[in-house]
Symmetry: C2
Subunit: 166 residues, 2 copies
DNA sequence: ATAATTGCAAATCGTTTGCCCGCAT
DNA sequence: ATGCGGGCAAACGATTTGCAATTAT
């Protein structure tokens, strides 16, 4: 048995981080929502990462976030590798954005929220009549599957026929 | 004796590179002048690097320049480490400029030439009378020593007294 | 049972640095 | 004799990736 047994996948400390947690609770909740919309399942690690990202501030580096989490978790931050992996995921899913500074490191920030609703339009086959609807569920799903292919939906036109479909 | 003896400091091949060398001869000459002005002694390696930098084109990476030199020297490019070192030198002396692209690599280009002559002004102590002169030698020296400290001279005012100085 | 997620450690890759040798001053 | 310039290889640091163990579905 190794000197430091007691290995768990997510040490309990990740479930309750202390300093300044209250301050960003709302922001984290909002980000959790965006994650869900983008098809990113929420896990203990990811939730704690969201806290760390907010606490570290806009433009923080991966290691900066990692160190911040080190403070917030009494010296038991998540693995740096896992952080990097999830940062990449969040960037791919448009939750975060990142760019290079003159120091040649990635700098992460919360991506500006997708502005404007997605216009989903029904186009009646034959007549060509257009029916625009507000369908947040459909929009979210389209965005998610598009994001999984690294794409961003701009608009959607669904061709339909009246009646029960043949 | 190692399998590949015949080591020299600068393989003779560096002294005569072939493809497209004519094209950039003038440009290289100009750059050599800027190097001299900046206090960068010209060496075989540096001269061949200037050819490579020009051949590789603006925005090339260090490794791109190195590979380009590999082609220009029949597979015997200068050491990559030396190239990096001299690129740093040329950047510090304002011959080259570099910035980071989204790929997080340095991209090198010829720095825009220092426009406008440096205004060196003599200010007569006591009277405050100003005498502006064109003194390219002084300007070059000032720029060089400033560059050695990572600075760029904008103007120079030399306080003087008339006569033989006391 | 199968797929997803994490920690850990090794691999990557451009860049930097230390050391030694050769040539010039 | 001194010192600068260059080759070479090791060091570095952020990021990526492979693997095995654990958890969720």
């Amino acid at each position: 048995m190794p000197a430091f047994a007691e290995h768990r996948r997510s040490p309990p400390v990740l479930k309750q981080i202390r300093p300044g947690m209250e301050a960003s609770r709302n922001a984290v909740r909002k980000l959790e929502g965006r994650c869900r919309e983008a098809g990113v399942k929420m896990t203990d690690l990811r939730r704690v990462m969201l806290h760390g990202i907010l606490a570290a501030g806009a433009g923080a580096t991966a290691i900066g976030i990692w160190k911040t989490l080190g403070l917030m978790t009494d010296g038991h931050p998540p693995s740096l590798g896992s952080i990097q992996r999830n940062l990449n995921l969040l960037v791919a899913r448009d939750i975060l954005c990142r760019d290079v500074a003159p120091d040649r490191l990635w700098h992460y920030s919360i991506a500006p929220e997708r502005r404007g609703r997605l216009a989903v339009t029904f186009v009646e086959a034959g007549t060509g009549r257009k029916i625009r609807c507000r369908m947040p569920e459909v929009a979210a799903l389209l965005r998610r599957v598009a994001a999984e292919h690294g794409l961003a939906v701009q608009a959607a036109a669904i061709t339909v026929t009246s009646g029960t479909g043949r």
